[in-house]
Amino acid sequence: MNWFDKFCNDFTLNFIEGDRWKWILEGLGNTIIITIFALIIGVLLGIIIAAVRSTYDKNGADMKKRGGPAYVFLKIGNTLCNLYLTVVRGTPSVVQLLIMYFIILVNVTNGVFVAIIAFGLNSAAYVAEIFRGGIMSIDEGQFEAGRSLGFNYLQTMFHIILPQAIKVILPSLFNEFITLIKETAVAGYVGVMDLTKAGDKIRGRTFSAFMPLIAVALIYLGIVVLLTQLLKQLEKRLRKSER
């Protein structure tokens, strides 16, 4: 048998027989669903965390002076956010996923849902730092110029700081998306058939490792390369709009 026939046989065995290509498709679908929804949770929660931390850093002194419960809430919120960031960034995401599945959401049987929550909460920590980093990258003088004109803290943020910070934030956010796709490859730990798990399942059935695992790797690679190209386009466009 020459190598080409062997390749065709292997291919048929792994993907065609028993419609096993459908597993790959299903796995890819789950990977994409988990990534996208986790990112949405991550962005929403991340913005809230970044808002609390940035407000505490930049406006805390003002609020402290004016007194009242707002400052107390802000201070408690800031402490909680810091604790959250420390825990999430200080533990492996697989462990977080397992804790979510076997302890916190033990009554939820839908693994995809659990993975979305776990990866979303994980991603929020990184997205929060992306937003905060973007805000902090803007020169303090911009903030002072806004405040000196009479803009309050929030108005300064929305009219002056965020329109500039978004150019720093967007590429990093896109990068987080790319990272997250690869991170979700451990979803199989909680019984989710994601892309990685699909490849592994085929390997278990056919006892042929090369074809399914390389195929899975190539699919990840293809997606990441494609998204990286998009990211480069985005960066180019942002640079152009920079004055």
């Binding site: 003002d62 003088g141 911009q142 002072e144 110029a145 000196s148 009479g150 803009f151 108005q155 004055r243």
Partner: protein, 247 residues
């Protein structure tokens, strides 16, 4: 004499739990139409003083009465007061994502709710005043330092402040651009604007200032008319300072 526009009482700003006394008990009255020039060695507290006037720096202690109201009081609406106090920074701090026109009209449109066409018409008048009408649609990065600072002055004036604060407005400029900015400030002084100006430009202090104050170690060590201040300085530290800057 009529009531002072700004009254500063026992103003203190301490850092590191009192180890650094950036301001150590400042008292001064600033009247309508005055041009108060603030000079002093580097690190003496000039910026801290100026930035305390609109609370960009939160004082450790003291009162700032502006237009009859203590703006450092707990319940004072500082944002409202800041609209009446224009500020010009050493490094311009123009908004890079906005055109010149956008820079000038942002605050009037957002804060005073002035309709855009009206705000732009007013901005064009201000641009005419700083001789930069032709730059209306440019972005800050397309301007020279002197042009940027003139736009920054126009931006502050757009809120129709009752006092203008300048923190070393020409210190970041190439020497050949200092004059164009000082000229605008002179025009502004002539128009009757109340101004507090931190600067090393002694020529400006002599020519335009109605009063010059010398700050050293966070205290006002001397204040006088420009003539007396420069011709007959009494404080030894001021004599030393002037001998260094007036070569």
């Amino acid at each position: 004499m009529e009531e002072a526009l700004i009254k500063v009482r026992n103003l203190k700003k301490h850092y590191n739990g009192g180890k650094v006394k950036a301001l150590d008990g400042i008292d001064i009255d600033i009247h309508q139409g005055e041009v108060v020039v603030v000079v002093g060695p580097s690190g003496s507290g000039k910026s801290t003083f100026l930035r305390s006037l609109n609370l960009l720096e939160q004082p450790t202690e003291g009162e700032i009465i502006f237009d009859g109201e203590d703006i450092n009081a707990k319940d004072a609406d500082i944002n409202k007061h800041r609209q009446k106090m224009g500020m010009v920074f050493q490094h311009f701090n123009l908004f890079p994502h906005k055109t010149v026109l956008g820079n000038i009209t942002l605050a009037p449109i957002q804060l005073k709710k002035i309709p855009k066409p009206e705000a732009e018409a007013q901005a064009m008048k201000l641009l005419n005043m700083v001789h930069l009408e032709d730059k209306a649609t440019n972005y800050p990065s397309q301007l020279s330092g002197g042009q940027k600072q003139r736009i920054a002055i126009a931006r502050a004036l757009a809120m129709e402040p009752t006092v203008m604060l300048f923190d070393e407005p020409t210190s970041a400029l190439d020497p050949e651009m200092v004059g164009e900015v000082l000229d605008i400030m002179k025009d502004l002084a002539k128009s009757g604007m109340t101004m507090v100006v931190v600067t090393h430009e002694m020529g400006f202090a002599k020519e335009v200032g109605t009063r010059v104050i010398f700050i050293d170690h966070g205290q006002i060590k001397e204040e006088n008319t420009p003539k007396e201040f420069f011709n007959n300085p009494k404080d030894p530290r001021l004599q030393d300072f002037l001998s260094k800057v007036l070569i």
